[in-house]
Symmetry: D2
Subunit: 327 residues, 4 copies
């Protein structure tokens, strides 16, 4: 049995909807289990600077439905150095913190893993990122909300799309992975979905758009993941298509950071609440170096090094569904 009397919690990396719900859950589970809880501001940066604040059940009132993170988030170069981590460790010890829960993506988990190796400090990770690119969990916190944000935006574009000979190119997040583009694309009924994992070339895009037109569609929506390489970027791709498909006007939307914000969906809130409980309980049971994930709607624990190194693959079945749906 671990001897854990005080747990720290922080968010790190790009924020995602559901992080506040996860913080709330960690804090309230600590209160429920009579363990002290300390919020660490701005992730590893705040750990190095000793930016701590004790938290009780009432500190997290009315945040479950808020986007962003009340503990703020930052990227921190100093934590990549041995000295930085030592400072962080010293601060944690001074504050009497015995273990921490880190809410973030794989960069944040890597930091935690190294920290655990160096100081034998108990850590548990909760996957908070809109990208859904963490191995060991079917869904990451924020992915579901981001998908809803994207489809709601595209629904509005679709309203206006039906009147004109127009193509709408919509850029969504995803530098390395196309999970948002593919799922939101199917959800929004996009005619084409361009993702980093598949580059079929821009000629094929053109052909496909022409086929769409011949099949009687008066307008089409093309989802482009940030990291897609069909064009140099979405504006260059627009020019290419307009040159080669002169009947059509192409209009571009770049959704940007609205995808990281917004009130979390019920799914993300429930998942965050469940994960926070699991994370605290795991620490109190003496577990460490694990990430909480969800698989078949059950919570599971995965060694954090596997979560980092594992790969999430693009869903081939869903690509096929998308092809069929855009007939």
């Amino acid at each position: 049995m671990a001897n854990i009397g005080k747990i720290g919690v922080f968010t790190s990396g790009g924020d995602s909807p559901g992080m506040n719900a996860a913080i709330r859950s960690v804090v309230r589970t600590c209160a429920y289990l009579k363990v002290e809880c300390v919020g660490i501001y701005r992730g590893y940066q705040g750990m190095i600077e000793g930016d701590f604040k004790p938290m009780d059940a009432r500190s997290v009132n009315n945040i479950i439905n808020k986007g962003g993170t009340i503990l703020k988030s930052a990227r921190c170069k100093e934590f990549r150095t041995k000295e930085g981590r030592q400072k962080a460790y010293d601060n944690l010890r001074k504050e009497g913190i015995d273990a921490f829960v880190v809410i973030g993506g794989d960069g944040s988990f890597t930091g935690a893993m190294i920290f655990n190796q160096e100081f034998h400090f108990p850590i548990i990770g909760i996957p908070g990122t809109i990208d859904n690119d963490i191995f060991g969990t079917t869904f990451t916190l924020g992915f579901d909300t981001a998908l809803n944000t994207v489809v709601e935006a595209i629904d509005k574009i679709r309203d206006t799309a039906s009147s004109h000979n127009r193509l709408f190119f919509v850029e969504v997040m995803g530098r390395d992975v196309g999970h948002i583009a593919l799922n939101a694309g199917v959800g929004a009924g996009a005619e084409e979905i361009l993702i980093p994992e598949e580059n079929l070339g821009r000629e094929r895009l053109l052909e496909s758009l022409k086929r769409s037109k011949e099949s009687g569609k008066s307008s089409s929506i093309v989802i482009v993941a940030e990291g897609d390489k069909t064009g140099k970027n979405i504006f260059e791709l627009k020019e290419y298509v307009e040159e080669n498909f002169p009947d059509y006007d192409v209009r571009v939307s770049v959704l940007g950071h609205m995808q990281r914000g917004g009130s979390p969906s019920c799914y993300d809130r429930v998942l965050a609440s469940r994960m926070g409980v699991k994370a605290v309980e795991a620490l109190l049971q003496g577990k460490t170096n694990l990430m909480v994930g969800v698989q078949d709607n059950e919570l599971i624990l995965t060694p954090i090094h596997k979560a980092i190194k594992g790969h999430t693959k693009i869903d081939k079945e869903l690509i096929r569904v998308s092809d069929i749906m855009s007939i």
Copy 2:
């Protein structure tokens, strides 16, 4: 290999968000696989009346994001009789329909199963109901959307709740099952969740509300599933609480049918799109009498009699999470 050249599709029972997305998917998968598709209006009623309409890929444009069902839905007593089913069968044969996909809940599946037994007519079910009470699938179409509708409504109530010594009682759907109440209750941060599966008595509710107040909460939200028996109904429960807890005003909201409508969430749209493909493919592979479900984000097929008779249990872990969160 089955000899299926024309597939019928219909929605039946109470409608749910995602039904249109499932119709669209069945229709477009048929078009993609060069099978004819016929829409049957108003469920079994339309089958008995021969209310059919051929559908092609363009018939289902711009419906993926719409609540309700373009094929309409109805409950049908006549289909419970042998004569009614014979009429339906004759109409299907006359129209040349070789198999059908039924989108609905367990009542609709029971009808389909009996029909299959009597006429050896190939059928596949897609679970469309907001109640999430179908065995053989982790999620039914519409559940995710309904949860978002409920938490968005309660978020608004929460805004105003924080100013006053007030209790808010919110009635949500669920005559026999508390899945909506429990999940939306956790997602909305409700202090109490009253579900049909658990009746702890109204004295315990009172104690719990008093404890809440003592812990410093200035107001509380209580979710009450339709089928909960803590009080005779939500208004009677309100009177009981106000009599016994005189400091507090109780305000009641009855969300009602708004929970069945609304634009489906991305999750429900993607799931519906996937299920429609799977249903058509299963029929073409000669399968029958099965329901498409989702388990661990993979599609599975369950014998429809199991889907009907199986039980979905309330999630004990989630009840515990709810207790911890409302500390």
Copy 3:
């Protein structure tokens, strides 16, 4: 020229979306014009208890989009007594507050007016109520948002309505006035709108519903203002209609306090921002005992006694529009 160096601001009565935006505007206008600003918590109650907090431009970060009121609101009996008001005055003087801005409805304004008469204390009102029942302003803060909340709820109900022989009764706020019911009813395309100002009797409702059915409508939505007297209450009215119109099922929604919350619409935020500037400027110009209102999109000032005693009439043109639209 008035000698005003410190301004108090508070919200009072039932809260409404846009109150936070108005607080933010008062606080920032004070900062901009180099006047001190003090937040008074829980309205007149906090004034009597001396529950004050100095506010600067940064105190109101990130609240423009939040429902509710960060200063909280309360109803206060003690302020109706001379002793209560004397305590409040003493506290204001002790804190050095020279004038205040009250954000609320006519009850709150009446308190302010009496206070002004007794102590010659400068006051300005900003109309914050969802009911739109204040004379001297075309729109009150929160009305626009509440209308959007109601129509969004009814849109969801409408999705499901089209499938069945059903009537949906939706109760909306409005004990004495039907502005919400009438505007949201037209906006949502309701077939019938029942308001306190007009009681045509329940027989007429029945006839109208029957006419609706004969005209080919398969379902209808009836908006019922809280204060409507067509039935004893919405449930009694439901029973009456079901008895006399047996083909139809009546389903009831009671929207309740969700109408008071939610993120304010852009209109309410802009209006709140403008009104806050105007209120502070008026006080600094030595004006008092006025309410800021909007007329033809311009801000105007009305003597507060007129705002209280004046009447807002139900819009006859809109009743006619509603009759025409529900043909």
Copy 4:
């Protein structure tokens, strides 16, 4: 008294939320007043091609809440020629249409005015555009909805903004006018608003951003109207700021056509319903060559040539409010 037995209705130019509600109102008012009504598809293009469809009260069921336009819209070069207009006139006469209601912006009104001059054909305009740039009406249909779309998007960006040293540049519609940028900017609490009507130079932008940072803001949101000339375009402006303000990352969102779509706000629906009634009644009273507008919440009629030539000025008071709010 005019001898008008059949009225045409169409939408023209860029679509805007509320157009469907206006169509519905024109159609139902005709039905109510026992005048025939014909929908003209794709604006002037459909008039030239004789693309007409008779409409009755039931043709416009369930469209009040839909974005886009069921009659579709198009820009039409041929109508700019005398021959084109002659064809249109001949088609209208053949169909027995005696007058029309045009829903659109000033380009559409100009066409209608010329048509009226040439053929003495009775016409009435309803201002449908998100830009709010029509003289003779305080609000155009769609403006209110577009503002809500923009502030909801920026609210999400704001959630994530608070964690980082970041600037968010958000491009909104408005090639010639800054009404959307200015109102949505105030509503979203933007730190800077760049509009076509005012070009203060990019140096001033830089200074202002630096001042913002010094005042303690950790991040800022800058709204840029499409037609703003502070930079060559939003991406060039981003580069300029990043070069000269190296501490900060600039992230860009281009909202694009989502601003033209979406379910209309209650305000836009009510206004559309009222305007449709007024337009039909005006035609039946023998009026012509007028635009229906709203002023101080009352409907007024303005000669259409004034509506076209008049100018809507940017609201100086609101610029001042914006400056004060971003302190």
